[in-house]
């Protein structure tokens, strides 16, 4: 193992050690915990920067190793993971920095940072994983850290419920993921990505099988990246502290599904049917989420639906253009990470400043009080809505271009872009402009430096992350076949922004009322009914059957007792009766033996 091989291991294990240190050593020492955690995140960032310059490497240790089943724990540093490392550690570091202030007065700050480091470890594990099993392991671990962080304020009932919901939805996705892994493994005989790549010949012998396997693996991504119909956990996950939302539920973890799909792009490419289904699911998610976002009032929820929508975009992109280097999907993931993190942190700053007020209709006029926040937030909004020249424009353009070949999908993608511009502009206008609509909004103020610095840095990245970076993601450089998609995208941006501006400028309350969108297509209610109607009813029935079974057992015991009791009545004490029974026995046995 040479020095270059150590760096990825360092990146992976550094947060783990930090987490263990914090959780077991600095439990009571909140200040130290925050410092240690942030420092470690910084080291991670430095390490990732170093790793970015390295040649691809791949080292592993044997975790389970027996004939027929080898599961290594390996780190694979390549084109895809190098960039993803940067995204994760970069945003991770900024969020850590931001959190030192945001969580300053939290009574279990060290727990928060411990879990945050644990999350970093898990996420980096996904990024670096060289095989499916290891990815699954870290997949589950990010699930747990996400569970822990969403439930950070576990004394609130909603937080606990949201955490549970997130974990459960992911588990459902992981059910398919694991099954997909099993199917691929049983055919290819290996779980490593390289091994699978080598075994494509075997895998393609049964296209149906391959399609099914890929779609099952995609289930994992559906859970983690909150694709329809497993998306409902993500908005609820906003119960967690806002830095968590920024890091996990906007920039990195939810993107893990997309990253994983990019990892297996070579497989998706083998199955057009699977690719198309993936693309459609992404498209549906993006449009539904965008529609829902238009009617939300909670600043974090709007951003959450926006995240959903953008994740749908990326998934659609994977389906449309599976590219081992990531393709437009990873490009969008990359840019989206910055501006969405920016938006969340900005929202966090607002919330922090307004003493946990999250309703945009109770804000207003914040641009006057929170200059840095409002400017960076505006930049983020523009980047997200696809304002030409900003990062989001380029990546979104790449996706639209990829969708151009499939007109229905293109239409959906375009509508989504339009809606994105609409609801983001709505958010900005309602929250930051106009009059202050609450007492808290009057006292808004910019936050301390550790919170604003990340905003500024992210804003800069949100502006320039799209410049000249596209080629990094494209394994073969596609000529811009047509400029029409780009023009249409600009149109979408402009229409959306304009519509929102005209509709919301100067309004004090929601002028539109679309209950369907506001209530998220009633999906939560439907799921609730399904869960209550199936799982709980089934559980109830099962419990009844079980009491029946133990009742039968008990009954058997009682029956034995009862028969014994009846038999005992033969023993009525009269010797004449005894000889009568004796005689009956004699006659019966003789009949049985002699005459039968």
């Amino acid at each position: 193992m040479n020095n270059n091989d150590i760096i990825p291991w360092f990146i992976l294990l550094n947060p783990l050690i930090t987490a263990v240190l914090i959780l077991f050593v600095f439990r009571k020492n909140h200040g130290t915990a925050a410092t240690v955690s942030t420092m470690s995140a910084f080291f991670g960032l430095v390490g990732s920067l170093c790793a970015f310059t390295l040649a691809p490497t791949h080292t592993f240790v044997r975790w389970i190793d027996m004939p027929g089943l080898q599961i290594p724990i390996g780190v694979q540093l390549d084109h895809l993971s190098q960039l993803m490392l940067l995204v994760v550690t970069g945003i991770g570091f900024l969020v850590h920095l931001y959190s030192t202030v945001y969580m300053e007065h939290d009574e279990s700050k060290s727990r928060f940072f411990g879990h945050l480091s644990l999350f970093m470890f898990s996420m980096l594990g996904i990024v670096l994983a060289d095989n499916f099993a290891m990815m699954f392991i870290f997949w589950e671990l990010v699930g747990v850290s996400s569970y822990l962080l969403i439930g950070h304020w576990f004394t609130r009932d909603a937080a606990g419920k949201a955490a549970n919901k997130a974990f459960m939805m992911n588990r459902i996705g992981d059910f398919g993921f694991m099954l997909g892994i099993l199917m691929l493994w049983s055919t290819a005989g290996t779980v490593t990505f390289k091994g699978l790549e080598a075994a494509t010949g075997t895998l393609t012998t049964n296209p149906m099988f391959l399609t099914a396997a890929i779609l099952l693996v995609f289930c994992g991504a559906m859970g983690k990246s909150a694709q329809f119909p497993l998306h409902t956990w993500l908005p609820d996950a906003m119960e967690g502290p806002t830095p968590v939302s920024a890091l996990i539920h906007a920039a990195t973890m939810v993107a893990a599904g997309v990253f994983m799909l990019a990892r297996i792009a070579f497989l998706i490419g083998l199955s057009p049917a699977a690719a198309l289904i993936i693309a459609w699911i992404g498209a549906i998610t993006s449009i539904l989420a965008a529609l829902m976002a238009t009617q939300q009032d909670d600043i974090k929820r709007i951003l959450a639906y926006s995240t959903l929508s953008q994740l749908g975009y990326m998934v659609m992109a994977i389906g449309l253009a599976p590219d081992p280097n990531g393709g437009p999907a990873m490009f969008h993931l990359f840019t989206h990470a910055f501006f969405k993190a920016l938006l969340f942190l900005g929202a966090g700053a607002v919330i922090h400043a307004l003493h946990h007020e999250q309703n945009i209709w109770k804000m207003g006029g914040l641009s006057k009080h929170m200059r840095v926040t409002s400017i960076t937030f505006l930049i983020g909004t523009l980047a997200l809505t696809g304002c030409p020249g900003l990062a989001g424009f380029f990546s979104k353009d790449a996706i639209l271009l990829a969708a151009w070949s499939n007109k229905p999908l293109f239409f959906i993608a375009w509508s989504t872009a339009f809606l994105t511009a609409f609801y983001m502009t709505r958010l900005y206008i309602v929250a930051f402009t106009g009059k202050e609509r609450s007492e808290a909004a009057h006292h808004g103020h910019d936050c301390p430096a550790p919170m604003t610095i990340p905003l500024v840095i992210l804003a800069i990245l949100a502006v320039c992350a799209g410049w000249k970076t596209e080629s990094y993601f494209m394994s073969h450089h596609a000529e811009h076949a047509s400029h029409i998609p780009m023009l249409l995208a600009i149109c979408a941006f402009m229409f959306g922004t304009f519509a929102a501006m005209t509709l919301y400028k100067g309004k004090d309350k929601e002028p539109l009322s679309l209950p369907l969108f506001r209530n998220k297509f009633y999906l939560d209610e439907i799921y609730g009914a399904i869960v209550a109607g199936t799982q709980d009813v089934l559980a109830y029935i099962a419990a009844k059957i079980d009491s029946l079974i133990s009742g039968i057992v008990r009954l058997a015991g009682m029956a034995a007792w009862g028969v014994g009791f009846l038999f005992r009545l033969l023993q009525f004490g009269n010797v004449q009766g005894y000889s009568f029974v004796f005689g009956l026995g004699v006659v019966w046995l003789i009949w049985f033996v002699v005459f039968k």
């Binding site: 004449q576 009766g577 009568f580 005689g583 009956l584 004699v586 006659v587 003789i590 009949w591 002699v594 005459f595």
Partner: protein
């Protein structure tokens, strides 16, 4: 044996046997039993078992019956004569006994070997069967051990009778 004598004694024996069961008075039952055993002894004679016939008379009709009568008198059991019949018990018991008898008939029907007459004995001309000698020889040569055990048995029975019927211990 003369078949007529056989039938006579058999019928008498069975008749008095039934009388044992049917009589309400214990004394009458005991007397019927004596008669029945006498007839049985007669049947033994018909089977050339003279020794056993005499034993039967001596032991049963003599000793055992006296014992029975003695006890019946001692306990003065007449008082108990009048009691309600338990019809169910009687019906059931009779049914079982009848069934057993029927089965016995069935068994005898499946016993072709027994349909043959008794074989003639090979006796020296002019001598009658000295069964006492033969029984004695068998008893004291072949079955000495059981015989001695019988001795112990009687000892045990004697002790038992004493132990159980003693009134007070001094």
């Amino acid at each position: 044996m003369n078949p007529i004598l056989f039938y006579l004694f058999s019928i008498l024996m069975l008749g008095f046997g039934i009388a044992v069961v049917a009589n309400r008075s214990p004394v009458a039952s005991a007397m019927s039993l004596v008669v029945s055993f006498f007839c049985l002894a007669a049947l033994y004679v018909g089977l050339d078992a003279y020794f056993l016939a005499s034993i039967q008379v001596v032991v049963y009709a003599g000793a055992v019956m006296v014992l029975f009568l003695f006890i019946i008198m001692l306990l003065d059991l007449k008082a108990e004569q009048r009691r309600k019949f338990n019809k169910l018990a009687i019906g059931g018991g009779a049914l079982v006994a009848l069934a057993f008898a029927a089965q016995l008939l069935g068994v005898l029907g499946g016993h072709p070997r027994g349909d043959k007459p008794f074989p003639e004995l090979k006796l020296p001309i002019g001598e009658s069967l000295n069964d006492l000698q033969h029984v004695g020889e068998t008893l004291f040569s072949l079955h000495t051990l059981p015989f001695q055990i019988i001795g112990v048995l009687i000892l045990v029975a004697t002790i038992g009778v004493i132990v159980i019927s003693k009134r007070e211990l001094k």
